[in-house]
Symmetry: C2
Subunit: 166 residues, 2 copies
Amino acid sequence: MSDAVASGIPDFSDDDRFFMTLALDEARAALASGDIPVGAVVIHEGEVIGRGHNAREALGDPTAHAEMMALTRAAETLGRWRLSGCTLYVTLEPCPMCAGAVLQCRLSRLVFGAFDPRAGCCGSLYDLLSDRRFPVRVAGCGGLLAEEASRLLSDFFLSRRGRPGS
Amino acid sequence: MSDAVASGIPDFSDDDRFFMTLALDEARAALASGDIPVGAVVIHEGEVIGRGHNAREALGDPTAHAEMMALTRAAETLGRWRLSGCTLYVTLEPCPMCAGAVLQCRLSRLVFGAFDPRAGCCGSLYDLLSDRRFPVRVAGCGGLLAEEASRLLSDFFLSRRGRPGS
Protein backbone atom coordinates (compact mmCIF):
# COMPACT_ATOMS: atom_id res chain seq x y z
CA MET A 1 0.00 0.00 0.00
CA SER A 2 1.43 3.38 -0.98
CA ASP A 3 2.15 6.18 1.49
CA ALA A 4 -0.64 8.17 -0.08
CA VAL A 5 -3.29 5.48 0.20
CA ALA A 6 -2.14 4.65 3.73
CA SER A 7 -2.82 8.24 4.81
CA GLY A 8 -6.14 8.44 3.01
CA ILE A 9 -5.08 10.95 0.36
CA PRO A 10 -4.79 10.72 -3.43
CA ASP A 11 -1.88 8.73 -4.82
CA PHE A 12 1.32 10.47 -5.93
CA SER A 13 3.02 10.19 -9.32
CA ASP A 14 6.44 8.73 -10.08
CA ASP A 15 7.65 12.30 -10.68
CA ASP A 16 6.41 13.27 -7.21
CA ARG A 17 8.39 10.39 -5.69
CA PHE A 18 11.52 11.31 -7.61
CA PHE A 19 11.40 14.96 -6.58
CA MET A 20 10.78 13.99 -2.96
CA THR A 21 13.93 11.85 -3.02
CA LEU A 22 15.82 15.02 -4.01
CA ALA A 23 14.26 16.81 -1.03
CA LEU A 24 15.36 13.90 1.20
CA ASP A 25 18.93 14.29 -0.14
CA GLU A 26 18.72 17.96 0.88
CA ALA A 27 17.48 16.95 4.34
CA ARG A 28 20.58 14.78 4.84
CA ALA A 29 22.78 17.74 3.89
CA ALA A 30 21.46 19.62 6.95
CA LEU A 31 23.08 17.08 9.28
CA ALA A 32 26.62 18.30 8.59
CA SER A 33 25.95 21.54 10.51
CA GLY A 34 23.91 19.91 13.28
CA ASP A 35 20.70 21.26 11.80
CA ILE A 36 17.38 19.42 12.02
CA PRO A 37 17.21 17.35 8.80
CA VAL A 38 14.50 18.91 6.64
CA GLY A 39 15.00 19.45 2.92
CA ALA A 40 13.10 21.03 0.05
CA VAL A 41 13.19 21.51 -3.72
CA VAL A 42 11.12 23.73 -6.03
CA ILE A 43 10.19 22.38 -9.48
CA HIS A 44 9.16 24.41 -12.52
CA GLU A 45 8.39 22.70 -15.84
CA GLY A 46 10.12 19.53 -14.70
CA GLU A 47 13.33 21.23 -13.62
CA VAL A 48 14.76 21.91 -10.15
CA ILE A 49 14.91 25.71 -9.81
CA GLY A 50 15.59 25.94 -6.07
CA ARG A 51 16.97 23.69 -3.34
CA GLY A 52 17.39 24.22 0.36
CA HIS A 53 17.85 22.56 3.70
CA ASN A 54 17.36 23.74 7.22
CA ALA A 55 20.36 25.95 8.06
CA ARG A 56 19.28 27.71 11.25
CA GLU A 57 22.40 26.65 13.12
CA ALA A 58 24.73 26.91 10.12
CA LEU A 59 23.68 30.49 9.38
CA GLY A 60 22.47 31.58 12.83
CA ASP A 61 19.30 32.71 11.08
CA PRO A 62 15.91 31.83 12.62
CA THR A 63 14.22 32.13 9.21
CA ALA A 64 16.58 29.70 7.43
CA HIS A 65 14.17 26.79 7.08
CA ALA A 66 14.46 24.47 4.08
CA GLU A 67 11.33 25.88 2.42
CA MET A 68 12.43 29.52 2.80
CA MET A 69 15.83 28.77 1.27
CA ALA A 70 14.35 26.82 -1.66
CA LEU A 71 11.61 29.40 -2.38
CA THR A 72 14.05 32.32 -2.28
CA ARG A 73 16.43 30.52 -4.63
CA ALA A 74 13.58 29.60 -6.99
CA ALA A 75 12.57 33.28 -7.14
CA GLU A 76 16.18 34.17 -7.95
CA THR A 77 16.22 31.57 -10.75
CA LEU A 78 12.99 32.80 -12.33
CA GLY A 79 13.72 36.47 -11.66
CA ARG A 80 10.29 37.03 -10.13
CA TRP A 81 8.73 36.61 -6.72
CA ARG A 82 5.55 35.00 -8.05
CA LEU A 83 6.13 31.26 -8.18
CA SER A 84 2.88 30.34 -9.94
CA GLY A 85 3.39 27.17 -11.96
CA CYS A 86 5.85 25.80 -9.39
CA THR A 87 5.64 22.88 -6.96
CA LEU A 88 7.47 22.75 -3.63
CA TYR A 89 8.50 19.34 -2.28
CA VAL A 90 9.49 19.37 1.39
CA THR A 91 10.19 16.45 3.71
CA LEU A 92 8.21 17.83 6.67
CA GLU A 93 4.84 19.57 6.90
CA PRO A 94 5.50 23.35 6.88
CA CYS A 95 5.36 25.40 10.09
CA PRO A 96 3.32 28.66 10.16
CA MET A 97 6.25 30.68 8.78
CA CYS A 98 6.82 28.36 5.83
CA ALA A 99 3.12 27.80 5.12
CA GLY A 100 2.79 31.58 5.07
CA ALA A 101 5.72 31.86 2.64
CA VAL A 102 4.03 29.31 0.36
CA LEU A 103 0.97 31.60 0.28
CA GLN A 104 3.08 34.72 -0.25
CA CYS A 105 4.80 33.37 -3.37
CA ARG A 106 1.61 32.19 -5.10
CA LEU A 107 2.96 28.65 -5.37
CA SER A 108 0.76 26.29 -7.40
CA ARG A 109 1.27 23.12 -5.38
CA LEU A 110 2.85 21.84 -2.19
CA VAL A 111 3.80 18.21 -1.53
CA PHE A 112 5.20 17.29 1.86
CA GLY A 113 6.50 14.15 3.53
CA ALA A 114 5.92 13.63 7.24
CA PHE A 115 3.05 15.32 9.04
CA ASP A 116 4.11 17.50 12.00
CA PRO A 117 1.53 17.28 14.78
CA ARG A 118 3.44 19.84 16.90
CA ALA A 119 3.75 22.72 14.46
CA GLY A 120 2.35 21.73 11.05
CA CYS A 121 0.09 24.29 9.43
CA CYS A 122 -0.95 22.40 6.31
CA GLY A 123 -3.47 20.07 7.91
CA SER A 124 -2.21 19.25 11.41
CA LEU A 125 -2.69 22.30 13.68
CA TYR A 126 -4.05 24.61 10.97
CA ASP A 127 -4.76 24.34 7.28
CA LEU A 128 -3.58 27.78 6.23
CA LEU A 129 -3.30 26.87 2.53
CA SER A 130 -7.03 26.34 2.15
CA ASP A 131 -8.28 29.27 4.25
CA ARG A 132 -10.55 31.16 1.87
CA ARG A 133 -10.07 34.42 3.76
CA PHE A 134 -6.54 34.72 2.36
CA PRO A 135 -6.23 36.17 -1.16
CA VAL A 136 -4.71 32.94 -2.51
CA ARG A 137 -5.05 29.22 -1.89
CA VAL A 138 -2.51 26.53 -2.64
CA ALA A 139 -3.16 22.86 -3.35
CA GLY A 140 -1.29 20.84 -0.76
CA CYS A 141 -0.98 17.19 0.19
CA GLY A 142 1.22 15.25 2.55
CA GLY A 143 2.40 11.77 3.40
CA LEU A 144 4.78 11.14 0.48
CA LEU A 145 7.83 9.07 1.56
CA ALA A 146 6.85 10.09 5.07
CA GLU A 147 8.51 7.12 6.77
CA GLU A 148 11.93 8.01 5.38
CA ALA A 149 11.51 11.68 6.33
CA SER A 150 10.40 10.73 9.85
CA ARG A 151 13.24 8.27 10.28
CA LEU A 152 15.80 10.97 9.46
CA LEU A 153 14.24 13.22 12.10
CA SER A 154 13.93 10.59 14.82
CA ASP A 155 17.51 9.37 14.26
CA PHE A 156 18.69 12.99 14.55
CA PHE A 157 16.86 13.64 17.82
CA LEU A 158 17.95 10.29 19.27
CA SER A 159 21.59 11.09 18.45
CA ARG A 160 21.31 14.44 20.25
CA ARG A 161 19.82 12.97 23.39
CA GLY A 162 21.98 13.59 26.41
CA ARG A 163 24.10 16.23 24.74
CA PRO A 164 24.49 19.57 26.57
CA GLY A 165 21.70 21.95 25.67
CA SER A 166 19.54 19.28 24.08
CA MET B 1 -7.42 59.44 23.71
CA SER B 2 -4.39 57.33 22.87
CA ASP B 3 -4.27 54.77 20.06
CA ALA B 4 -3.98 52.05 22.65
CA VAL B 5 -6.98 53.10 24.71
CA ALA B 6 -8.98 53.66 21.52
CA SER B 7 -8.43 50.05 20.51
CA GLY B 8 -9.13 48.68 23.97
CA ILE B 9 -5.62 47.48 24.74
CA PRO B 10 -3.07 48.49 27.39
CA ASP B 11 -1.32 51.81 26.89
CA PHE B 12 2.12 51.99 25.30
CA SER B 13 5.25 53.65 26.72
CA ASP B 14 7.12 56.64 25.31
CA ASP B 15 9.88 54.23 24.27
CA ASP B 16 7.33 52.16 22.37
CA ARG B 17 6.17 55.28 20.51
CA PHE B 18 9.74 56.29 19.70
CA PHE B 19 10.67 52.88 18.32
CA MET B 20 7.48 52.75 16.26
CA THR B 21 8.42 56.06 14.65
CA LEU B 22 11.66 54.37 13.54
CA ALA B 23 9.60 51.55 12.03
CA LEU B 24 7.45 54.15 10.24
CA ASP B 25 10.65 55.69 8.82
CA GLU B 26 11.55 52.23 7.50
CA ALA B 27 8.07 51.88 5.97
CA ARG B 28 8.60 55.11 3.99
CA ALA B 29 11.90 53.73 2.69
CA ALA B 30 9.97 50.91 0.95
CA LEU B 31 8.25 53.43 -1.33
CA ALA B 32 11.39 54.12 -3.38
CA SER B 33 11.23 50.65 -4.95
CA GLY B 34 7.44 50.61 -5.33
CA ASP B 35 7.11 48.22 -2.41
CA ILE B 36 4.13 48.25 -0.05
CA PRO B 37 5.18 50.56 2.81
CA VAL B 38 5.68 48.38 5.86
CA GLY B 39 8.68 48.85 8.16
CA ALA B 40 10.14 47.14 11.21
CA VAL B 41 12.87 47.47 13.83
CA VAL B 42 14.18 45.03 16.45
CA ILE B 43 15.26 46.42 19.83
CA HIS B 44 17.57 44.77 22.35
CA GLU B 45 18.50 46.52 25.60
CA GLY B 46 17.31 49.85 24.24
CA GLU B 47 19.32 49.65 21.01
CA VAL B 48 18.22 49.07 17.43
CA ILE B 49 19.83 45.78 16.35
CA GLY B 50 17.89 45.18 13.13
CA ARG B 51 15.90 47.26 10.66
CA GLY B 52 13.97 46.30 7.58
CA HIS B 53 11.30 47.30 5.14
CA ASN B 54 9.25 45.40 2.65
CA ALA B 55 11.50 44.71 -0.35
CA ARG B 56 9.59 42.09 -2.29
CA GLU B 57 9.75 44.08 -5.52
CA ALA B 58 13.22 45.50 -4.88
CA LEU B 59 14.73 42.05 -4.34
CA GLY B 60 12.25 39.90 -6.28
CA ASP B 61 12.02 37.79 -3.14
CA PRO B 62 8.57 36.69 -1.87
CA THR B 63 9.93 36.30 1.68
CA ALA B 64 11.39 39.84 1.89
CA HIS B 65 8.82 41.30 4.28
CA ALA B 66 9.89 44.01 6.73
CA GLU B 67 9.77 41.67 9.71
CA MET B 68 11.85 38.96 8.03
CA MET B 69 14.55 41.45 7.07
CA ALA B 70 14.67 43.02 10.55
CA LEU B 71 14.70 39.66 12.38
CA THR B 72 17.45 38.23 10.16
CA ARG B 73 19.58 41.33 10.67
CA ALA B 74 18.99 41.26 14.43
CA ALA B 75 20.18 37.64 14.51
CA GLU B 76 23.29 38.67 12.56
CA THR B 77 23.94 41.49 15.07
CA LEU B 78 23.60 39.22 18.12
CA GLY B 79 25.31 36.25 16.47
CA ARG B 80 22.51 33.90 17.46
CA TRP B 81 19.14 32.89 16.07
CA ARG B 82 17.37 33.06 19.44
CA LEU B 83 16.08 36.61 19.87
CA SER B 84 14.86 36.23 23.44
CA GLY B 85 15.01 39.60 25.20
CA CYS B 86 14.18 41.44 21.97
CA THR B 87 11.12 43.41 20.88
CA LEU B 88 9.97 43.74 17.26
CA TYR B 89 8.13 46.91 16.24
CA VAL B 90 6.34 46.65 12.90
CA THR B 91 3.89 49.08 11.30
CA LEU B 92 1.39 46.40 10.17
CA GLU B 93 0.05 43.30 11.88
CA PRO B 94 2.18 40.33 10.75
CA CYS B 95 0.95 37.87 8.10
CA PRO B 96 1.19 34.10 8.77
CA MET B 97 4.78 33.96 7.48
CA CYS B 98 5.97 36.78 9.71
CA ALA B 99 3.96 35.71 12.76
CA GLY B 100 5.55 32.29 12.28
CA ALA B 101 9.01 33.86 12.10
CA VAL B 102 8.32 35.72 15.35
CA LEU B 103 7.61 32.34 16.99
CA GLN B 104 10.65 30.70 15.40
CA CYS B 105 13.09 33.25 16.82
CA ARG B 106 11.76 33.13 20.39
CA LEU B 107 11.13 36.87 20.38
CA SER B 108 10.06 38.29 23.75
CA ARG B 109 7.58 40.89 22.54
CA LEU B 110 5.84 42.13 19.40
CA VAL B 111 4.30 45.60 19.00
CA PHE B 112 2.49 46.39 15.76
CA GLY B 113 0.73 49.40 14.28
CA ALA B 114 -2.28 48.88 12.04
CA PHE B 115 -4.40 45.74 12.28
CA ASP B 116 -4.69 43.78 9.01
CA PRO B 117 -8.17 42.25 8.70
CA ARG B 118 -7.24 40.52 5.40
CA ALA B 119 -4.10 38.63 6.46
CA GLY B 120 -3.17 39.50 10.05
CA CYS B 121 -2.29 36.53 12.24
CA CYS B 122 -1.74 38.29 15.57
CA GLY B 123 -5.38 38.84 16.48
CA SER B 124 -7.28 39.46 13.25
CA LEU B 125 -7.66 36.17 11.33
CA TYR B 126 -5.64 34.07 13.75
CA ASP B 127 -3.76 34.66 16.98
CA LEU B 128 -0.78 32.42 16.32
CA LEU B 129 1.39 34.03 19.02
CA SER B 130 -0.85 32.85 21.85
CA ASP B 131 -1.62 29.33 20.57
CA ARG B 132 -0.54 27.09 23.44
CA ARG B 133 0.01 24.13 21.12
CA PHE B 134 3.18 25.77 19.78
CA PRO B 135 6.35 25.32 21.88
CA VAL B 136 6.64 29.07 22.50
CA ARG B 137 4.32 32.02 22.96
CA VAL B 138 5.09 35.68 22.36
CA ALA B 139 3.46 38.69 24.00
CA GLY B 140 1.96 40.81 21.25
CA CYS B 141 -0.15 43.94 21.06
CA GLY B 142 -1.27 46.21 18.25
CA GLY B 143 -2.73 49.60 17.52
CA LEU B 144 0.32 51.79 18.21
CA LEU B 145 0.48 54.78 15.81
CA ALA B 146 -1.94 52.78 13.69
CA GLU B 147 -3.42 55.80 11.92
CA GLU B 148 -0.04 56.86 10.53
CA ALA B 149 0.77 53.31 9.43
CA SER B 150 -2.64 52.96 7.75
CA ARG B 151 -2.35 56.32 6.03
CA LEU B 152 0.97 55.31 4.46
CA LEU B 153 -0.67 52.14 3.13
CA SER B 154 -3.85 53.77 1.83
CA ASP B 155 -1.89 56.58 0.13
CA PHE B 156 0.29 53.94 -1.54
CA PHE B 157 -2.65 51.92 -2.86
CA LEU B 158 -4.49 55.04 -4.01
CA SER B 159 -1.41 56.19 -5.93
CA ARG B 160 -1.20 52.82 -7.71
CA ARG B 161 -4.84 52.79 -8.74
CA GLY B 162 -5.26 52.66 -12.50
CA ARG B 163 -1.66 51.66 -13.14
CA PRO B 164 -1.08 48.60 -15.34
CA GLY B 165 -1.08 45.43 -13.28
CA SER B 166 -2.51 47.08 -10.18
